[in-house]
């Protein structure tokens, strides 16, 4: 029930007397106050959930439908979120060192960053890999690199998240092959692959194949893991990148959940039962600057997904209705100017994610507007999470901001606007037509343009950039990736190619090709077989490129 008439009348009285006195002398700083995503914010919010029924319907209890307050009944009282710093660069040896450092410093899960050639299915010696090898993540050409990457890291004791999309099946296969060599059974493995191709088309750009074969690869992975790797999160449906591309908080939720709907549909069309895979779907969101909006956003997302899974897809298992998510603090808010300010930004964003109930968190480092993080910087980023976890008290209660009038108001606003987008996308025919005709991209671009214009006109202040600037020295000690790296990596891979059984590789690749042509067959087994023979990523993706074709960007400017 909306705010009672009595309260509204009282508020009006307050506005006409107490408020008016002050405002006539000291007007407010703006005529309109909005969240970072332009949602209206009241001067002081009033209660809108005023009955027990409304409470039960809109909030409920943590761990129960609609999960607004959290997906687990105890949340951080039971177990803190996983502190999982995205890392990777250069060679597998260097990344392995960084992972060990992070685990020693108290990180509780691994998150692997791959370089662009790996993410796009090219080997380090491909002409298109020129200049890119090892720059934004670790270079993986063969299983040998994967073995080095996890050397000394027992896979039954860590959970590993891999940010890999178009070639996710291949990297997963490599991970499984490493586990096998370590003597770890597949059903003991914990982890996630991002495996979310739709957001690649929308915002991130590391796609390879067109939508149809890409969805096939994704549902093949769902099926394979449901049978053989049951603890594995087979997809991390992502809004982080969509937000980074300039989307609003509402768009971030709407387009991510719409992608989720598309994946569920694809799996159902492939003949799977919804409860057989839905509990392993996970999500990945952004933690942006406007703390209150972000907390409301996460709560709204949980509520909406639960409704979608129950009402649209008729999932029976309670676990299928839960939106579990990883969060990363917003990279695009970091500034190159006065980089230490970024530590403060990340702390606020960490609070947003934790008060919003995230299951795992990556915090950015202060120098990331300029380069990959140095060891010192990434340690501070990890400490930020640890301080919030152990010193701030926000973990003592589940959904501590629940019941704040403004938070509930923003949660409801966001939910309402998200449903509008979801209906629109459904009317267009789903996410794939909406992406192909550029509707999604245009919404994002318009928001990005508006945001940037506000910065240019100083309507939106970025401390250190358009206000409170200083003349500063350029920061020192930034991480540099060795330019010799490409050459070294190519040499290593050439050595592997000489030592492997090239006849076996040829056979396995042909078997892969045949399987690719038969759409009802699962691609994971032949990929796993090829990977074990040390076929390269480029060779495997080369076969698939030939059979599936390549996606062509469709742009609307």
């Amino acid at each position: 029930m909306p705010t009672s008439d009595k309260l509204k009348a009282q508020r009006q009285k307050w506005e006409e007397t107490t408020l008016k006195k002050v405002i006539s002398r000291n007007p407010e700083r703006k005529t309109e106050f909005t969240t970072g995503s332009w949602l209206p914010v009241e001067r002081t919010a009033l209660p809108e959930i005023t009955s027990d029924n409304e409470y039960l319907e809109r909030l409920g209890f943590p761990g129960e439908f609609p999960f607004t307050r959290g997906v687990q009944p105890t949340m951080y009282r039971g177990r803190l979120w996983t502190m999982r710093q995205y890392a990777g660069f250069g060679t597998a040896e260097e990344s392995n060192r960084r992972y060990k450092f992070l685990l020693n410093q108290g990180q509780t899960g691994l998150s692997i960053a791959f370089d662009l050639p790996t993410q796009i299915g090219y080997d380090s010696d491909d002409p298109l890999s020129e200049g890119e090898v090892g720059k934004v993540g670790v270079a993986i050409d063969t299983l040998r690199d994967m073995e080095i990457l996890f050397d000394g890291i027992p896979l039954d004791q860590v959970s590993t998240s891999m940010t890999i999309n178009a070639p996710a099946a291949i990297l997963l296969a490599m991970y499984l092959a490493v586990a096998e060599k370590q003597g770890v059974a597949f059903d003991q493995l914990n982890g996630t692959i991002q495996n979310d191709i739709l957001k690649e088309y929308i915002a991130r750009g590391t796609y390879i194949f067109p939508p149809k074969p890409s969805l096939r690869l994704i549902t093949n992975i769902f099926e394979f893991c449901a049978r053989s790797v049951p603890k594995w999160n087979t997809i991390s449906i992502s809004g982080y990148h969509i937000r980074e591309a300039g989307a609003t908080a509402v768009q971030e939720v709407a387009f991510t959940l719409a992608d989720g709907v598309e994946y569920v549909k694809a799996a159902l069309n492939a003949g799977m039962d919804v409860d057989s895979f839905a509990d392993r779907l996970s999500f990945f969101f952004n933690a942006h600057n406007d703390l209150l909006e972000e907390v409301a956003k996460f709560r709204a997302a949980r509520r909406i997904w639960a409704k979608i899974m129950r009402d649209k897809f008729h999932a029976q298992n309670s676990k299928s209705l839960m939106l579990r998510f990883h969060t990363q603090t917003a990279g695009s808010t970091l500034t190159a100017q006065q980089p230490d300010n970024n530590i403060v930004r990340v702390a606020i964003q960490t609070l947003a994610a934790v008060l919003g109930g995230t299951q795992s968190l990556h915090t950015n480092s202060r120098d990331e507007a300029l380069a990959l993080p140095s060891e010192d910087s990434v340690r501070i980023a990890l400490r930020t999470q640890q301080i919030v976890a152990y010193e701030s008290g926000v973990t003592n209660s589940v959904d501590p901001l629940g019941g704040s009038y403004l938070i509930e108001n923003l949660t409801d606003q966001i939910e309402s606007e998200v449903w509008q987008y979801l209906d629109q996308i459904e009317a267009i025919g789903g996410m794939i037509p909406a992406i192909e005709n550029g509707f999604i991209q245009k919404e994002i671009q318009d928001a990005a343009y508006r945001y940037q214009k506000e910065i240019e006109s100083n309507e939106r202040i970025i401390v250190g950039v358009n206000k409170f600037t200083t003349d500063e020295e350029t920061p020192k000690n930034l991480l540099k990736v060795d330019s010799e790296l490409q050459r070294i990596q190519i040499q290593k891979t050439d050595a592997v190619k000489k030592q492997r059984n090239n006849q076996a590789v040829k056979e396995k690749l042909e078997l892969l090709r045949e399987t690719a042509r038969r759409t009802e067959q699962n691609l994971m087994p032949p990929i796993l077989a090829a990977v074990k023979e040390y076929a390269t990523l480029g060779e495997i993706c080369g076969i698939l490129r030939q059979e599936f074709g390549e996606y062509q960007e469709s742009i609307v400017l």
Partner: protein
């Protein structure tokens, strides 16, 4: 009549983050220039061929993946090889300050680092106008 300045905005290499490039393209259009945007994943060869066919005055390269030291100079080099070195090349993205002198030595006329207001880019373009109109 002031010559219509034509600018190619391009993303070389594999980096797919195009928010900045799209913003610059649109903002330069609003400033009155003719802007050609060719999307992500362009090789230096494709960028140079495009620049030549479109007879642009400027090429603006956007890159966030750290491959700028390899790819930016390659574009300049290819323009020279194709007798198109009057085309002015500038760049932007995630580029550490310490890399800028090296890039300029290799022929980049300007580098715009994160947080640079669009006005700085427009001022730079206008400062080259007399060179272009001759």
């Amino acid at each position: 009549m002031a010559k219509k300045i034509r600018i190619l905005i391009a993303k070389p290499g594999l980096d797919g983050h195009d928010r900045g490039a799209k913003y610059i393209a649109r903002a330069l259009k609003d400033a009155g220039y003719e802007v050609i945007y060719t999307g992500i994943r362009q090789t230096p060869e494709a960028i140079v061929k495009t620049a030549i066919q479109e007879d642009v005055d400027f090429v603006g390269l956007s890159l966030l993946s750290g491959a700028h030291n390899e790819l930016f100079p390659r574009v300049v080099e290819l323009l020279r090889e194709n007798q198109a070195d009057n085309i002015i090349v500038f760049g932007g993205g995630v580029i550490p300050e310490s890399d800028i002198p090296g890039l300029k030595a290799k022929g980049l006329a300007a580098i715009f680092t994160p947080g640079t207001p669009i006005k700085a880019v427009i001022d730079f373009i206008e400062s080259c106008r007399s060179k272009i109109e001759n």
